[in-house]
Protein backbone atom coordinates (compact mmCIF):
# COMPACT_ATOMS: atom_id res chain seq x y z
CA UNK A 1 0.00 0.00 0.00
CA UNK A 2 1.35 3.39 -0.96
CA UNK A 3 1.70 5.88 1.86
CA UNK A 4 1.40 9.51 0.87
CA UNK A 5 3.37 11.98 2.94
CA UNK A 6 3.37 15.79 2.79
CA UNK A 7 7.11 16.26 2.54
CA UNK A 8 7.92 14.68 -0.75
CA UNK A 9 6.60 16.43 -3.86
CA UNK A 10 6.86 13.33 -6.02
CA UNK A 11 4.69 11.31 -3.66
CA UNK A 12 1.77 13.70 -3.67
CA UNK A 13 -1.07 12.49 -5.85
CA UNK A 14 -1.85 14.58 -8.90
CA UNK A 15 -5.45 14.28 -10.05
CA UNK A 16 -6.84 14.57 -13.52
CA UNK A 17 -10.31 15.39 -14.73
CA UNK A 18 -12.31 14.56 -17.81
CA UNK A 19 -12.84 17.28 -20.41
CA UNK A 20 -16.52 17.37 -19.50
CA UNK A 21 -15.75 18.02 -15.84
CA UNK A 22 -13.05 20.56 -16.72
CA UNK A 23 -15.43 22.66 -18.78
CA UNK A 24 -18.78 21.71 -17.31
CA UNK A 25 -18.12 22.27 -13.60
CA UNK A 26 -16.88 25.88 -13.93
CA UNK A 27 -19.74 26.73 -16.31
CA UNK A 28 -22.24 25.15 -13.92
CA UNK A 29 -20.73 27.09 -11.02
CA UNK A 30 -21.05 30.41 -12.85
CA UNK A 31 -24.55 29.59 -14.01
CA UNK A 32 -25.55 28.74 -10.44
CA UNK A 33 -24.02 31.98 -9.23
CA UNK A 34 -25.84 34.23 -11.71
CA UNK A 35 -29.15 32.40 -11.85
CA UNK A 36 -29.83 31.19 -8.31
CA UNK A 37 -28.65 34.41 -6.69
CA UNK A 38 -31.43 36.22 -8.55
CA UNK A 39 -33.89 34.12 -6.58
CA UNK A 40 -32.03 34.07 -3.26
CA UNK A 41 -29.96 37.21 -2.96
CA UNK A 42 -28.11 36.05 0.18
CA UNK A 43 -26.34 33.47 -2.00
CA UNK A 44 -24.25 36.30 -3.43
CA UNK A 45 -22.22 35.93 -0.24
CA UNK A 46 -20.85 32.69 -1.64
CA UNK A 47 -18.40 32.69 -4.51
CA UNK A 48 -18.84 29.25 -6.02
CA UNK A 49 -16.65 29.99 -9.07
CA UNK A 50 -13.84 30.84 -6.63
CA UNK A 51 -14.32 27.53 -4.81
CA UNK A 52 -14.15 25.69 -8.13
CA UNK A 53 -10.97 27.57 -9.04
CA UNK A 54 -9.35 26.56 -5.76
CA UNK A 55 -10.52 22.96 -6.08
CA UNK A 56 -9.09 22.47 -9.58
CA UNK A 57 -5.87 24.25 -8.68
CA UNK A 58 -5.10 22.20 -5.60
CA UNK A 59 -6.16 18.93 -7.22
CA UNK A 60 -4.04 19.33 -10.36
CA UNK A 61 -1.11 20.79 -8.45
CA UNK A 62 0.05 22.55 -11.60
CA UNK A 63 0.64 26.26 -11.40
CA UNK A 64 0.05 26.94 -15.10
CA UNK A 65 -3.19 24.95 -15.09
CA UNK A 66 -4.25 26.71 -11.91
CA UNK A 67 -3.58 30.12 -13.41
CA UNK A 68 -5.40 29.37 -16.65
CA UNK A 69 -8.39 27.91 -14.83
CA UNK A 70 -8.58 30.96 -12.56
CA UNK A 71 -8.16 33.30 -15.52
CA UNK A 72 -10.92 31.65 -17.57
CA UNK A 73 -13.38 31.50 -14.70
CA UNK A 74 -12.61 35.07 -13.63
CA UNK A 75 -13.00 36.51 -17.11
CA UNK A 76 -16.31 34.70 -17.57
CA UNK A 77 -17.52 36.08 -14.27
CA UNK A 78 -16.40 39.57 -15.30
CA UNK A 79 -18.37 39.35 -18.52
CA UNK A 80 -21.57 38.86 -16.54
CA UNK A 81 -21.12 42.18 -14.72
CA UNK A 82 -21.24 45.69 -16.14
CA UNK A 83 -17.70 46.47 -14.98
CA UNK A 84 -14.54 46.23 -17.10
CA UNK A 85 -13.49 42.70 -17.96
CA UNK A 86 -10.45 41.63 -15.98
CA UNK A 87 -11.12 42.48 -12.33
CA UNK A 88 -12.20 38.98 -11.34
CA UNK A 89 -9.79 37.66 -13.99
CA UNK A 90 -6.72 39.11 -12.28
CA UNK A 91 -7.89 38.14 -8.78
CA UNK A 92 -8.72 34.55 -9.70
CA UNK A 93 -5.55 34.07 -11.77
CA UNK A 94 -3.50 34.91 -8.68
CA UNK A 95 -5.67 32.67 -6.52
CA UNK A 96 -5.26 29.81 -9.03
CA UNK A 97 -1.51 30.21 -8.91
CA UNK A 98 -1.44 30.40 -5.12
CA UNK A 99 -3.77 27.46 -4.58
CA UNK A 100 -1.83 25.20 -6.95
CA UNK A 101 1.41 26.18 -5.19
CA UNK A 102 -0.08 25.36 -1.79
CA UNK A 103 -1.50 22.11 -3.11
CA UNK A 104 2.00 20.89 -3.80
CA UNK A 105 3.07 21.30 -0.19
CA UNK A 106 0.02 20.80 2.01
CA UNK A 107 -2.52 18.04 2.47
CA UNK A 108 -5.61 19.31 0.76
CA UNK A 109 -7.76 16.26 1.29
CA UNK A 110 -8.42 16.97 4.93
CA UNK A 111 -11.65 18.90 5.66
CA UNK A 112 -9.93 21.07 8.24
CA UNK A 113 -7.15 22.13 5.94
CA UNK A 114 -9.68 22.70 3.17
CA UNK A 115 -11.67 25.01 5.39
CA UNK A 116 -8.62 27.03 6.44
CA UNK A 117 -7.26 27.17 2.90
CA UNK A 118 -10.55 28.43 1.42
CA UNK A 119 -11.02 30.89 4.28
CA UNK A 120 -7.61 32.38 3.57
CA UNK A 121 -7.99 32.41 -0.21
CA UNK A 122 -11.45 33.99 -0.09
CA UNK A 123 -10.08 36.79 2.05
CA UNK A 124 -7.14 37.22 -0.31
CA UNK A 125 -9.42 37.14 -3.37
CA UNK A 126 -11.66 39.86 -1.96
CA UNK A 127 -8.63 41.97 -1.07
CA UNK A 128 -7.23 41.60 -4.60
CA UNK A 129 -10.60 42.45 -6.10
CA UNK A 130 -10.84 45.53 -3.90
CA UNK A 131 -7.34 46.70 -4.85
CA UNK A 132 -7.84 46.23 -8.58
CA UNK A 133 -11.27 47.86 -8.54
CA UNK A 134 -10.34 50.82 -6.38
CA UNK A 135 -6.70 51.47 -7.22
CA UNK A 136 -6.57 50.52 -10.89
CA UNK A 137 -10.04 51.52 -12.00
CA UNK A 138 -11.04 54.09 -9.36
CA UNK A 139 -14.48 52.56 -8.97
CA UNK A 140 -15.99 53.38 -5.56
CA UNK A 141 -15.46 50.44 -3.21
CA UNK A 142 -15.71 49.79 0.49
CA UNK A 143 -13.56 47.40 2.45
CA UNK A 144 -15.68 45.91 5.20
CA UNK A 145 -13.46 43.60 7.20
CA UNK A 146 -16.23 41.95 9.19
CA UNK A 147 -18.29 41.35 6.11
CA UNK A 148 -15.34 39.88 4.24
CA UNK A 149 -14.52 37.67 7.21
CA UNK A 150 -18.10 36.45 7.29
CA UNK A 151 -18.00 35.71 3.57
CA UNK A 152 -14.70 33.85 3.99
CA UNK A 153 -16.18 31.80 6.81
CA UNK A 154 -19.29 30.93 4.80
CA UNK A 155 -17.24 29.97 1.76
CA UNK A 156 -14.90 27.86 3.91
CA UNK A 157 -17.80 25.89 5.32
CA UNK A 158 -19.40 25.43 1.91
CA UNK A 159 -16.06 24.31 0.48
CA UNK A 160 -15.88 21.36 2.86
CA UNK A 161 -19.15 20.01 1.46
CA UNK A 162 -18.59 21.04 -2.15
CA UNK A 163 -15.05 19.64 -2.37
CA UNK A 164 -16.31 16.29 -1.05
CA UNK A 165 -18.82 16.21 -3.92
CA UNK A 166 -16.29 17.35 -6.50
CA UNK A 167 -13.83 14.64 -5.37
CA UNK A 168 -16.09 12.19 -7.20
CA UNK A 169 -15.29 13.79 -10.54
CA UNK A 170 -11.58 13.00 -10.20
CA UNK A 171 -10.19 10.40 -12.55
CA UNK A 172 -8.89 7.37 -10.67
Amino acid sequence: MTTITYTSREEIEVHKFSALATVGIPLLAIFFQVYVSSRFSFLKLFDIPLLVTIFFAVSRRNQLAGMLTGCAIGLTQDAMTHLPIGIYGIAKTIIGFGASSIGVKVDVENPGSRFLMVFFFTFLHDALYFIVRRQLLAIPSDWRTLHEAGAALANGLLAVVLFALLDRTKKR
Binding site: K44, M80, P140
Partner: protein
Amino acid sequence: MLLGLLMAQVIVLASQVRRPVASTGESMSLVRLWIVEIFVPAEKAFNSVGDGISSVWHNYIDLRHVRAQNHDLQEQVDRLRLEQVSLAEDAGQARRLQALLAFKEKFISQTVAAQVIGTSGSEHSHLLYIDKGSGDGIKPDMPVITPKGIVGKIAKVFPGTSQVLEINDATAGAGVMLERTRLRGVLHGTPSGIPEILHVMVDEKIEPGDAVVSSGGDQIYPRGLPIGVVSTTTPDPEGGPFMVVKVKPAADLERVEEVLVITKVIDKSPEAPEGPRALRAADILAQRLPTVVPRAPAKGEEPPPTSVLYAKKPASTTAALGAPKSSSSQTGTPSAASAQTPKPKPAVKPAETENVTPKPAQVEPTPPQPVLQQTTPVTDQPTLETPR
Protein backbone atom coordinates in the same frame (compact mmCIF):
# COMPACT_ATOMS: atom_id res chain seq x y z
CA MET B 1 0.79 24.57 -23.17
CA LEU B 2 0.13 25.43 -26.78
CA LEU B 3 -3.60 25.32 -26.24
CA GLY B 4 -3.24 27.52 -23.21
CA LEU B 5 -1.25 30.10 -25.06
CA LEU B 6 -3.67 30.09 -27.98
CA MET B 7 -6.56 30.44 -25.60
CA ALA B 8 -4.93 33.38 -23.88
CA GLN B 9 -4.29 35.08 -27.19
CA VAL B 10 -7.87 34.57 -28.34
CA ILE B 11 -9.16 36.04 -25.10
CA VAL B 12 -6.86 39.05 -25.34
CA LEU B 13 -7.83 39.53 -28.96
CA ALA B 14 -11.53 39.22 -28.28
CA SER B 15 -11.38 41.63 -25.39
CA GLN B 16 -10.02 44.29 -27.73
CA VAL B 17 -12.31 43.66 -30.67
CA ARG B 18 -15.67 45.35 -30.35
CA ARG B 19 -18.71 44.57 -32.41
CA PRO B 20 -21.46 47.16 -32.82
CA VAL B 21 -24.89 45.91 -31.86
CA ALA B 22 -27.10 46.51 -34.88
CA SER B 23 -30.09 47.96 -33.12
CA THR B 24 -28.36 50.28 -30.70
CA GLY B 25 -25.16 51.16 -32.48
CA GLU B 26 -23.33 50.71 -29.19
CA SER B 27 -20.08 48.77 -29.35
CA MET B 28 -19.90 45.57 -27.35
CA SER B 29 -16.95 43.51 -26.23
CA LEU B 30 -16.96 40.18 -28.03
CA VAL B 31 -16.02 38.29 -24.88
CA ARG B 32 -18.98 39.78 -23.06
CA LEU B 33 -21.33 39.14 -25.96
CA TRP B 34 -20.30 35.50 -26.31
CA ILE B 35 -20.48 34.72 -22.62
CA VAL B 36 -23.84 36.39 -22.11
CA GLU B 37 -25.21 34.56 -25.16
CA ILE B 38 -24.03 31.26 -23.66
CA PHE B 39 -25.65 31.74 -20.27
CA VAL B 40 -28.87 33.53 -21.15
CA PRO B 41 -30.63 30.66 -23.01
CA ALA B 42 -30.04 28.36 -20.04
CA GLU B 43 -31.34 31.00 -17.66
CA LYS B 44 -34.43 31.52 -19.77
CA ALA B 45 -35.05 27.76 -19.94
CA PHE B 46 -34.72 27.35 -16.17
CA ASN B 47 -36.91 30.36 -15.65
CA SER B 48 -39.70 29.02 -17.84
CA VAL B 49 -39.56 25.60 -16.14
CA GLY B 50 -39.67 27.30 -12.75
CA ASP B 51 -42.58 29.44 -13.84
CA GLY B 52 -44.44 26.39 -15.09
CA ILE B 53 -44.09 24.62 -11.76
CA SER B 54 -44.99 27.78 -9.91
CA SER B 55 -48.02 28.29 -12.15
CA VAL B 56 -49.30 24.77 -11.44
CA TRP B 57 -48.92 25.39 -7.75
CA HIS B 58 -50.60 28.77 -7.74
CA ASN B 59 -53.39 27.93 -10.18
CA TYR B 60 -54.44 24.54 -8.91
CA ILE B 61 -53.03 23.68 -5.53
CA ASP B 62 -52.61 26.83 -3.51
CA LEU B 63 -56.22 28.01 -3.74
CA ARG B 64 -57.10 27.75 -0.09
CA HIS B 65 -58.52 30.87 1.56
CA VAL B 66 -59.29 32.37 -1.84
CA ARG B 67 -62.87 33.20 -0.87
CA ALA B 68 -61.78 35.04 2.25
CA GLN B 69 -59.09 36.83 0.32
CA ASN B 70 -61.62 37.81 -2.31
CA HIS B 71 -63.85 39.28 0.35
CA ASP B 72 -60.98 41.27 1.82
CA LEU B 73 -59.96 42.52 -1.57
CA GLN B 74 -63.51 43.57 -2.36
CA GLU B 75 -63.56 45.65 0.80
CA GLN B 76 -60.25 47.13 -0.17
CA VAL B 77 -61.60 48.02 -3.61
CA ASP B 78 -64.58 49.79 -2.05
CA ARG B 79 -62.31 51.74 0.23
CA LEU B 80 -59.99 52.67 -2.62
CA ARG B 81 -62.93 53.82 -4.72
CA LEU B 82 -63.83 56.32 -2.05
CA GLU B 83 -60.25 57.53 -1.91
CA GLN B 84 -60.18 57.74 -5.68
CA VAL B 85 -63.10 60.16 -5.72
CA SER B 86 -61.33 62.66 -3.49
CA LEU B 87 -58.05 62.22 -5.34
CA ALA B 88 -59.77 62.77 -8.68
CA GLU B 89 -61.05 66.10 -7.39
CA ASP B 90 -57.53 67.17 -6.45
CA ALA B 91 -56.08 65.90 -9.70
CA GLY B 92 -58.70 67.73 -11.73
CA GLN B 93 -57.91 70.96 -9.99
CA ALA B 94 -54.18 70.44 -10.48
CA ARG B 95 -54.67 69.75 -14.19
CA ARG B 96 -56.77 72.87 -14.62
CA LEU B 97 -54.08 74.95 -13.01
CA GLN B 98 -51.38 73.30 -15.11
CA ALA B 99 -53.41 73.96 -18.24
CA LEU B 100 -53.68 77.61 -17.28
CA LEU B 101 -49.93 77.85 -16.94
CA ALA B 102 -49.28 75.91 -20.19
CA PHE B 103 -47.29 73.49 -18.06
CA LYS B 104 -45.61 70.68 -20.00
CA GLU B 105 -45.10 67.34 -18.39
CA LYS B 106 -43.48 64.06 -19.38
CA PHE B 107 -45.95 61.22 -19.61
CA ILE B 108 -45.06 57.55 -19.83
CA SER B 109 -46.71 56.46 -23.03
CA GLN B 110 -45.24 53.02 -23.68
CA THR B 111 -43.73 50.29 -21.54
CA VAL B 112 -42.47 46.75 -22.10
CA ALA B 113 -43.01 44.16 -19.39
CA ALA B 114 -40.01 41.95 -18.73
CA GLN B 115 -39.02 39.18 -16.39
CA VAL B 116 -35.81 39.05 -14.38
CA ILE B 117 -33.83 35.97 -15.40
CA GLY B 118 -30.57 36.47 -13.56
CA THR B 119 -28.11 38.75 -11.82
CA SER B 120 -24.42 39.46 -12.12
CA GLY B 121 -23.89 36.95 -9.32
CA SER B 122 -21.56 39.39 -7.61
CA GLU B 123 -21.99 41.46 -4.47
CA HIS B 124 -20.00 44.22 -6.12
CA SER B 125 -22.21 44.63 -9.17
CA HIS B 126 -25.90 45.36 -8.62
CA LEU B 127 -27.10 44.20 -11.98
CA LEU B 128 -30.13 42.31 -13.28
CA TYR B 129 -30.69 40.45 -16.52
CA ILE B 130 -34.15 40.68 -18.10
CA ASP B 131 -35.64 38.53 -20.84
CA LYS B 132 -36.14 41.41 -23.30
CA GLY B 133 -33.46 42.73 -25.59
CA SER B 134 -32.88 44.86 -28.64
CA GLY B 135 -35.43 42.79 -30.56
CA ASP B 136 -38.13 44.08 -28.20
CA GLY B 137 -37.23 47.72 -28.68
CA ILE B 138 -35.05 48.02 -25.60
CA LYS B 139 -32.28 50.61 -25.77
CA PRO B 140 -29.58 51.75 -23.34
CA ASP B 141 -30.55 54.28 -20.66
CA MET B 142 -34.24 53.40 -20.71
CA PRO B 143 -35.72 53.57 -17.20
CA VAL B 144 -36.82 50.34 -15.52
CA ILE B 145 -39.55 50.46 -12.89
CA THR B 146 -41.92 48.34 -10.86
CA PRO B 147 -45.29 49.50 -9.54
CA LYS B 148 -43.53 50.29 -6.26
CA GLY B 149 -40.80 52.45 -7.70
CA ILE B 150 -37.70 52.83 -9.81
CA VAL B 151 -35.41 49.82 -10.21
CA GLY B 152 -32.71 51.29 -12.43
CA LYS B 153 -31.86 51.83 -16.06
CA ILE B 154 -30.81 49.70 -18.99
CA ALA B 155 -27.01 49.43 -19.06
CA LYS B 156 -26.28 47.13 -21.98
CA VAL B 157 -28.56 45.59 -24.57
CA PHE B 158 -28.06 42.20 -26.22
CA PRO B 159 -30.25 40.61 -28.88
CA GLY B 160 -32.31 38.55 -26.42
CA THR B 161 -31.53 40.08 -23.07
CA SER B 162 -30.56 43.33 -21.38
CA GLN B 163 -28.60 44.37 -18.34
CA VAL B 164 -30.40 46.57 -15.82
CA LEU B 165 -28.14 48.67 -13.61
CA GLU B 166 -29.92 49.05 -10.27
CA ILE B 167 -30.05 52.49 -8.64
CA ASN B 168 -28.16 51.21 -5.58
CA ASP B 169 -25.06 50.24 -7.58
CA ALA B 170 -21.93 52.24 -6.81
CA THR B 171 -21.75 53.43 -10.41
CA ALA B 172 -25.42 54.47 -10.65
CA GLY B 173 -27.10 57.79 -9.96
CA ALA B 174 -30.37 59.67 -10.38
CA GLY B 175 -31.76 63.16 -10.01
CA VAL B 176 -34.15 63.16 -7.05
CA MET B 177 -36.43 65.43 -5.12
CA LEU B 178 -37.82 65.21 -1.62
CA GLU B 179 -41.59 65.19 -1.94
CA ARG B 180 -42.32 67.16 1.23
CA THR B 181 -39.68 69.88 1.10
CA ARG B 182 -39.21 69.90 -2.73
CA LEU B 183 -35.45 69.82 -2.12
CA ARG B 184 -33.54 68.56 -5.14
CA GLY B 185 -30.39 66.48 -5.06
CA VAL B 186 -28.42 63.68 -6.65
CA LEU B 187 -28.87 60.11 -5.50
CA HIS B 188 -25.83 57.86 -5.75
CA GLY B 189 -25.50 54.15 -5.18
CA THR B 190 -22.86 52.91 -2.77
CA PRO B 191 -20.73 49.75 -2.60
CA SER B 192 -22.85 48.58 0.33
CA GLY B 193 -26.01 48.83 -1.77
CA ILE B 194 -27.68 51.61 0.27
CA PRO B 195 -28.15 54.67 -1.95
CA GLU B 196 -27.40 58.14 -0.59
CA ILE B 197 -28.36 61.70 -1.51
CA LEU B 198 -25.22 63.78 -1.81
CA HIS B 199 -24.45 67.41 -1.06
CA VAL B 200 -27.38 68.18 1.20
CA MET B 201 -26.66 70.99 3.62
CA VAL B 202 -26.88 70.13 7.30
CA ASP B 203 -29.46 72.83 7.98
CA GLU B 204 -32.02 71.29 5.62
CA LYS B 205 -35.01 69.86 7.44
CA ILE B 206 -35.12 66.26 6.34
CA GLU B 207 -36.73 63.58 8.42
CA PRO B 208 -36.62 59.81 8.20
CA GLY B 209 -39.66 58.62 6.28
CA ASP B 210 -39.67 61.54 3.82
CA ALA B 211 -40.60 60.30 0.37
CA VAL B 212 -37.99 60.63 -2.38
CA VAL B 213 -39.15 60.89 -6.00
CA SER B 214 -37.36 61.37 -9.30
CA SER B 215 -36.88 65.01 -10.26
CA GLY B 216 -36.53 64.44 -13.99
CA GLY B 217 -33.33 66.45 -14.04
CA ASP B 218 -31.20 63.51 -15.16
CA GLN B 219 -33.13 63.20 -18.45
CA ILE B 220 -33.49 59.47 -17.84
CA TYR B 221 -36.16 58.93 -15.20
CA PRO B 222 -39.47 60.73 -15.72
CA ARG B 223 -40.38 63.20 -13.01
CA GLY B 224 -42.37 62.08 -9.99
CA LEU B 225 -41.65 58.37 -9.94
CA PRO B 226 -41.15 57.01 -6.42
CA ILE B 227 -37.56 56.12 -5.57
CA GLY B 228 -37.75 55.43 -1.86
CA VAL B 229 -37.91 56.98 1.58
CA VAL B 230 -35.25 58.61 3.72
CA SER B 231 -34.00 56.02 6.20
CA THR B 232 -31.36 57.98 8.12
CA THR B 233 -29.70 61.38 8.09
CA THR B 234 -26.25 61.70 9.62
CA PRO B 235 -23.76 64.55 9.72
CA ASP B 236 -20.79 64.37 7.38
CA PRO B 237 -18.20 62.11 9.06
CA GLU B 238 -15.48 64.43 7.79
CA GLY B 239 -17.11 67.43 9.45
CA GLY B 240 -18.11 69.15 6.21
CA PRO B 241 -21.16 71.34 5.68
CA PHE B 242 -23.11 68.47 4.15
CA MET B 243 -24.97 65.55 5.64
CA VAL B 244 -25.39 61.98 4.49
CA VAL B 245 -28.98 61.12 3.63
CA LYS B 246 -29.49 57.38 3.22
CA VAL B 247 -32.46 56.21 1.20
CA LYS B 248 -34.35 52.94 1.39
CA PRO B 249 -35.42 52.08 -2.17
CA ALA B 250 -39.18 51.79 -2.70
CA ALA B 251 -38.77 48.78 -5.00
CA ASP B 252 -37.46 45.65 -3.33
CA LEU B 253 -34.26 45.45 -5.33
CA GLU B 254 -33.25 42.12 -3.80
CA ARG B 255 -36.41 40.36 -4.92
CA VAL B 256 -37.38 41.89 -8.24
CA GLU B 257 -39.12 39.39 -10.51
CA GLU B 258 -41.06 41.44 -13.05
CA VAL B 259 -40.24 44.91 -14.27
CA LEU B 260 -41.50 47.48 -16.75
CA VAL B 261 -39.11 49.13 -19.17
CA ILE B 262 -40.27 52.60 -20.17
CA THR B 263 -39.69 52.66 -23.90
CA LYS B 264 -41.45 55.90 -24.75
CA VAL B 265 -41.99 59.15 -22.88
CA ILE B 266 -43.85 62.07 -24.41
CA ASP B 267 -44.00 65.74 -23.58
CA LYS B 268 -47.60 66.74 -23.18
CA SER B 269 -49.54 69.64 -21.80
CA PRO B 270 -52.17 68.38 -19.41
CA GLU B 271 -55.73 69.02 -20.54
CA ALA B 272 -58.35 70.35 -18.26
CA PRO B 273 -60.54 67.47 -17.12
CA GLU B 274 -63.79 66.73 -18.87
CA GLY B 275 -67.05 66.75 -17.05
CA PRO B 276 -68.48 69.11 -14.47
CA ARG B 277 -66.87 72.52 -14.37
CA ALA B 278 -66.95 75.47 -12.15
CA LEU B 279 -69.32 78.23 -13.07
CA ARG B 280 -67.82 81.00 -15.18
CA ALA B 281 -68.40 84.68 -14.69
CA ALA B 282 -69.91 84.95 -18.18
CA ASP B 283 -72.40 82.25 -17.32
CA ILE B 284 -73.62 84.13 -14.32
CA LEU B 285 -73.96 87.32 -16.29
CA ALA B 286 -75.84 85.51 -19.01
CA GLN B 287 -78.28 84.13 -16.51
CA ARG B 288 -79.05 87.62 -15.26
CA LEU B 289 -79.66 89.08 -18.71
CA PRO B 290 -83.11 88.83 -20.26
CA THR B 291 -82.89 86.40 -23.16
CA VAL B 292 -85.16 84.41 -25.35
CA VAL B 293 -85.12 80.72 -25.95
CA PRO B 294 -83.02 79.85 -28.98
CA ARG B 295 -84.61 78.95 -32.25
CA ALA B 296 -84.31 75.33 -33.21
CA PRO B 297 -82.47 74.87 -36.50
CA ALA B 298 -84.48 74.06 -39.54
CA LYS B 299 -83.87 70.88 -41.45
CA GLY B 300 -80.42 70.92 -43.03
CA GLU B 301 -79.50 74.09 -41.26
CA GLU B 302 -76.57 74.29 -38.90
CA PRO B 303 -77.66 74.59 -35.31
CA PRO B 304 -77.20 78.03 -33.77
CA PRO B 305 -73.87 78.61 -32.15
CA THR B 306 -73.60 78.78 -28.46
CA SER B 307 -76.22 81.20 -27.42
CA VAL B 308 -78.28 78.37 -26.09
CA LEU B 309 -75.71 77.79 -23.44
CA TYR B 310 -76.39 81.11 -21.90
CA ALA B 311 -80.07 81.51 -22.66
CA LYS B 312 -82.46 81.99 -19.85
CA LYS B 313 -84.74 79.06 -19.58
CA PRO B 314 -88.40 79.52 -20.25
CA ALA B 315 -90.78 77.90 -17.88
CA SER B 316 -91.92 75.35 -20.42
CA THR B 317 -88.53 74.24 -21.68
CA THR B 318 -85.20 73.33 -20.28
CA ALA B 319 -82.56 75.24 -22.07
CA ALA B 320 -79.77 72.80 -21.81
CA LEU B 321 -77.13 72.79 -19.19
CA GLY B 322 -77.27 70.62 -16.21
CA ALA B 323 -80.58 69.15 -17.21
CA PRO B 324 -80.99 65.55 -18.26
CA LYS B 325 -80.62 65.15 -21.99
CA SER B 326 -83.32 63.75 -24.14
CA SER B 327 -82.49 61.13 -26.67
CA SER B 328 -82.69 63.64 -29.48
CA SER B 329 -80.32 66.04 -27.80
CA GLN B 330 -77.80 63.27 -27.22
CA THR B 331 -77.67 62.49 -30.88
CA GLY B 332 -77.80 66.11 -31.88
CA THR B 333 -80.87 65.70 -34.09
CA PRO B 334 -83.58 68.23 -33.52
CA SER B 335 -86.92 66.66 -32.90
CA ALA B 336 -90.16 67.76 -34.49
CA ALA B 337 -91.24 69.45 -31.32
CA SER B 338 -88.10 71.50 -31.19
CA ALA B 339 -89.05 73.19 -34.45
CA GLN B 340 -91.97 74.85 -32.69
CA THR B 341 -89.82 76.58 -30.15
CA PRO B 342 -89.24 80.35 -30.42
CA LYS B 343 -86.18 81.64 -32.19
CA PRO B 344 -83.12 81.96 -30.02
CA LYS B 345 -81.16 85.13 -29.60
CA PRO B 346 -77.50 85.23 -28.63
CA ALA B 347 -77.08 86.44 -25.12
CA VAL B 348 -73.34 86.83 -25.18
CA LYS B 349 -70.73 87.87 -27.70
CA PRO B 350 -69.60 85.18 -30.12
CA ALA B 351 -65.98 85.65 -29.11
CA GLU B 352 -66.74 84.40 -25.67
CA THR B 353 -68.36 81.28 -26.89
CA GLU B 354 -66.38 80.07 -29.85
CA ASN B 355 -65.46 76.41 -30.00
CA VAL B 356 -68.45 75.51 -27.96
CA THR B 357 -70.33 72.54 -29.20
CA PRO B 358 -73.61 73.64 -30.71
CA LYS B 359 -76.59 72.12 -29.12
CA PRO B 360 -80.22 72.31 -30.11
CA ALA B 361 -82.79 73.34 -27.63
CA GLN B 362 -84.61 70.71 -25.74
CA VAL B 363 -88.32 70.88 -25.52
CA GLU B 364 -89.25 68.13 -23.19
CA PRO B 365 -91.11 69.73 -20.34
CA THR B 366 -89.02 69.20 -17.28
CA PRO B 367 -89.01 71.12 -14.08
CA PRO B 368 -86.67 74.09 -14.20
CA GLN B 369 -83.30 73.41 -12.65
CA PRO B 370 -80.60 75.80 -11.60
CA VAL B 371 -77.78 76.05 -14.12
CA LEU B 372 -74.72 75.16 -12.10
CA GLN B 373 -72.54 72.95 -14.22
CA GLN B 374 -71.71 72.63 -17.85
CA THR B 375 -71.81 69.24 -19.42
CA THR B 376 -70.41 70.19 -22.80
CA PRO B 377 -66.84 71.09 -23.66
CA VAL B 378 -66.16 74.79 -23.61
CA THR B 379 -63.22 76.98 -24.40
CA ASP B 380 -60.08 76.91 -22.30
CA GLN B 381 -60.85 80.25 -20.77
CA PRO B 382 -59.95 80.63 -17.15
CA THR B 383 -62.74 79.70 -14.85
CA LEU B 384 -63.59 81.42 -11.68
CA GLU B 385 -64.16 79.41 -8.60
CA THR B 386 -66.29 82.06 -7.01
CA PRO B 387 -68.73 84.14 -9.04
CA ARG B 388 -68.41 87.88 -8.74
